[in-house]
């Protein structure tokens, strides 16, 4: 998977990276393990967005809804029913996929920007319901201290669980991007009219891409429940959707590992900057402006271009 990003050396980098990630808990303190887990699951979240946005060219403006619904789905199954938590981890993403399908069905007939705006409004409805339904969702307090099965209850085991699920998900997403479906999807992104004219049913492919993206956003949401044992309504507030778009943009839209890199940069920068100022949003805004003006292809995209020029 990494090969396609870094060329021949990719495989070495990839295996090296995975080994480092596996060994990480041996020498990093607890807080950094927690942070790395967050990076992984945000990275998966951003990658799922990039599947629809970067590869599919669909204006998925409110992706956080599917992340939040995945998390709430898992949390509610665990806290409100007597069922197995593992079932919750399956129900959450499936709920996201279903919601994604329904919202997609409503939005897909509209043109690009209208699609995005309508999606924001539908997503805000979901947010409003979760925000207000104290009886079920805990309202603006959210749900805290969600019990986890023993095997993933410690920070390290939660980390390994996140690592495995993220790696498996990325593998599947990468596989899909490289499949005929992925090719057709990229064709639709580059030129929808042309795609129709070579026999591709554009809307149906886009809808499928939305469902897939929604599902993996749900997976990352469920992983957040594992790592943080909380859910709260801000997880599906629209500003978070913007933040995850920033992750994709910062790392690079048209690269596979870009969103993961973007997530890592954002999480690390936030942690670092927050140690000496409360004005993190100001920095994020400035970083974003800088990227839009000077690095429109993102960090990874920038280096890819440089490498191509060298060759």
């Amino acid at each position: 998977m990494v090969q396609s990003i870094l060329g021949g050396k990719g495989r070495v980098w990839g295996y090296g990276g995975i080994i480092v990630l596996i060994l990480l808990p041996l020498f990093l303190p607890r807080f950094y393990i927690y942070l790395t887990s967050l990076i992984l699951l945000y990275g998966l979240f951003a990658t799922s967005l990039n599947f629809a946005l970067g590869y599919g060219g669909i204006y998925q403006f409110h992706h956080a809804v599917f992340y939040g619904v995945g998390a709430y789905g898992a949390a509610l199954v665990i806290t409100k029913t007597g069922l197995s938590p593992w079932l919750g981890f399956i129900v959450g993403p499936l709920a996201s996929a279903l919601l994604s399908f329904v919202m997609g069905l409503i939005c897909i007939r509209l043109s690009k920007l209208y699609f995005g705006m309508l999606q924001i409004s539908l997503g805000s409805l979901v947010w409003a319901v979760i925000y207000r339904w104290y009886g079920l969702t805990g309202g603006d307090d959210g749900i805290h201290g969600i019990p986890m099965p023993d095997i993933i209850a410690t920070p390290n085991s939660a980390y390994y669980f996140t690592l495995i699920v993220t790696a498996a998900s990325l593998f599947v997403i990468h596989r899909m991007i490289k499949s005929p479906f992925g090719s057709a999807l990229q064709g639709v992104r580059d030129n929808a009219v042309r795609s129709e004219m070579i026999g591709v049913n554009v809307k149906r492919h886009q809808l499928a891409a939305l469902v897939i993206a929604g599902f993996f956003a749900g997976v990352s949401g469920a992983l957040f429940v594992v790592v943080d044992t909380t859910v709260f309504p801000d997880m599906l507030f629209w500003t978070f959707s913007m933040e995850v778009m920033i992750m994709c943009l910062l790392g690079g839209w048209f690269t596979f590992m870009g969103p993961m890199l973007g997530a890592a940069l954002i999480v690390l920068l936030r942690t670092f900057i927050s140690t000496f100022t409360v004005y993190w949003a100001l920095f994020l805004g400035l970083i974003l402006m800088f990227v839009i003006f000077f690095l429109p292809d993102g960090v990874l995209g920038f280096f890819q271009k440089k490498m191509k020029q060298k060759n």
Binding site: R175, M176, K178, S179, P180, F181, G182, S183, A184, Q186, G187, R189, D190, N191, V193, R194, S195, E196, M197, I198, G199, V200, N201, V202, H205, A208, F254
Partner: protein
């Protein structure tokens, strides 16, 4: 093979295409000519389903295809190229054509087989036939204008059509590229037996390869006939060719 009956399309009061009739028989090469804004591209958009006509009908192989979406029409064996270059910018030449071939084979719903292993030979054969095989790995957005126009045709061929519509295939091409393109169109007709409907500004091209010509002015057909008939028709000369009183060429 293709029958267009009284096709009409209005954009906010402006009749872009009015009452156009057109017949194309199997194996023919038919040209549509006319000044800019005559409605040629609109006509092609109506035939291929990108636009829906206000009235009139389109029959393809005796089936009514009026108002069907483009992807359905494509599956029936009619594909087209575009006047403004319309390729998948960020993908390689090979991938551009491969998607078209995969679509024909109904493989675009395959989620897990790597594309790399699929339909290589079919795709390469098409690239070879249009002379783009040497550039198969190039990113299509970085190709020369002429190559992109040819890629357009290659993508249309990926659908394995019987009927091909070309919207100004040589527009903006250098002279030698144009010659290559004319050669290509002739081959498509002779060797592959394709029926071709095209529009073009280059009169030399039109008269050298088409069997019949339709002239459109301001949305209407003024004449449909053989090259000879069109060349010497007074109305055509008045309306389109600038009113010279000698036969062209």
């Amino acid at each position: 093979m293709l029958q267009v009956k009284a096709l009409t399309k209005t954009f906010g009061g402006f009749k872009a295409v009015k009452d156009v009739d057109l017949n194309v028989k199997k194996g023919e090469i038919v040209a549509v000519i006319g000044p800019n804004g005559a409605g040629k591209t609109t006509l092609f958009n109506l035939i291929t389903g990108i636009l829906k006509p206000d009235s009139g009908q389109v029959f393809f192989r005796d089936q009514d295809i009026t108002g069907l979406p483009p992807y359905v029409i494509c599956k029936k064996g009619m594909t087209r190229s575009f006047q403004i270059v319309n390729v998948f910018q960020r993908l390689s030449v090979f991938e551009n054509v491969q998607i078209s071939v995969m679509s024909r084979e109904g493989k675009t719903w395959n989620l897990f087989t790597p594309s790399k292993k699929l339909l290589i030979e079919d795709t390469d054969r098409i690239l070879d036939s249009v002379g783009l095989l040497g550039k198969r790995e190039n990113i299509s957005g970085a190709l020369s204008h002429g190559d992109r126009k040819v890629l357009e045709i290659a993508m249309a061929l990926g659908g394995n059509p019987e009927f091909l519509i070309l919207d100004e295939p040589t527009a903006g091409m250098a002279p030698e590229e144009t010659e290559r393109c004319i050669e290509l169109i002739k081959q498509l007709s002779d060797k592959m037996g394709l029926t071709i409907l095209f529009c073009e500004h280059d009169m030399e091209l039109v008269f050298s390869i088409s069997e019949r010509i339709m002239v459109m002015v301001r949305g209407s057909t003024i004449i449909q006939g053989s090259c000879e008939e069109v060349r010497c028709n007074e109305a055509v000369q008045d309306a389109y060719l600038g009113g010279s009183d000698v036969c062209l060429m």
